[in-house]
């Protein structure tokens, strides 16, 4: 198992729970799921990265693509990421200032966008 993706609804949000490794090989799967969600009408999307062990630049590109796609339809993308290993990647690339990052799904679906 390299990447698993599942969706569930929490309040008005669609939560995409991702587990495994997001890299140059698996990122296309994530892209397809995110595109399908937006095409299916989801506008408030939370990507839960809590189960992600590895994230590379290709995965970041897909997340940035999803952010832009959702903004284009007046939607919103929030990320749940508490692991220092992943947070470091967002900091190094400056994306910690681009994405709304939350510690838990509960805070991501409760508060207003950071």
């Amino acid at each position: 198992m390299e990447l698993s993706v599942s969706t569930r609804a929490v309040a008005s949000y669609t939560v995409l729970e991702v587990a495994g490794e997001i890299d140059v090989y698996t990122a296309p799967q994530l892209r397809e799921r995110l595109i399908a969600l937006v095409e299916g009408g989801a506008r408030y999307v939370v990507v839960d990265l809590s189960g992600v062990e590895f994230l590379d630049s290709t995965g970041l590109g897909v997340l940035v693509g999803a952010l832009k796609r959702l903004r284009g339809v007046n939607g919103e993308l929030r990320l749940v990421c508490a692991h220092e290993r992943l947070l470091k990647i967002f900091r190094i690339t400056g994306l910690d200032r681009v994405f709304a990052l939350y510690d838990t799904v509960a805070t991501a679906t409760a508060g207003s966008a950071g």
Binding site: V24, V38, F54, V98
Partner: protein
């Protein structure tokens, strides 16, 4: 002298193999486990770069990874893409490629580097989307490599066409000659 060499066709699936092998060799070389995460990521990024270059140029050549153990643990990833193509994306302006500019109130709005149309012009299935995401990924890749690895050099390959990315980390097993 390389301790371990690995060559693979430019398929994304093999990048994971290279990461796993790289960390296994680093462990044997006595590199501090604290560095494994960044070594894993750096090897992945260097290999992803080579795979992308080979695929862009339709090359069937193998990507070569040489892992050398000594006072330092050194990783050399060699691609075979035409040098002018490879050096373009390989030696960019690394100054924080995606940082929001001062005063910019929509921080995600200019991640495309001015090279493509605004996202609103596209349908979600537009093939341009994938291309644009790849362009973002290239910027991220360079930011990650520059931000993660203290010792990194990108230069023309030792022989033949292509470039090599050479990265090294202290091999903690050795008491002498280990940089701070």
């Amino acid at each position: 002298m390389p301790t371990v060499r690995l060559s693979f066709t430019a398929a994304p699936a093999h990048v994971r193999t290279a990461r796993l092998v790289g960390v296994a060799v680093a462990r044997r070389a006595g590199v501090s486990p604290d560095l494994f995460d960044e070594i894993r990521l750096a090897i992945g990024e260097a290999c992803s770069r080579a795979v992308a270059l080979h695929r862009q140029h339709g090359l069937s050549d193998l990507v070569d990874v040489a892992l050398t153990d000594g006072e330092t643990f050194t990783v050399r990833v060699t691609d075979r893409a035409p040098i002018e193509a490879a050096l373009g994306p390989a030696v960019p302006d690394l100054a924080d490629p995606v940082a929001p500019r001062p005063g910019e109130d929509r921080p995600g709005s200019d991640l495309w580097d001015g090279t493509s149309r605004p996202v609103d012009d596209r349908t979600p299935t537009d093939p341009q989307v994938e291309e644009a995401e790849e362009a973002v990924a290239v910027g991220m890749r360079l930011a990650l490599l520059a931000g993660l690895v203290d010792q990194i050099t990108v230069r023309p390959a030792e022989s033949g066409p292509g470039t090599e990315v050479v990265m090294s980390w202290p091999a903690a097993g050795r008491v002498n000659g280990v940089p701070g």
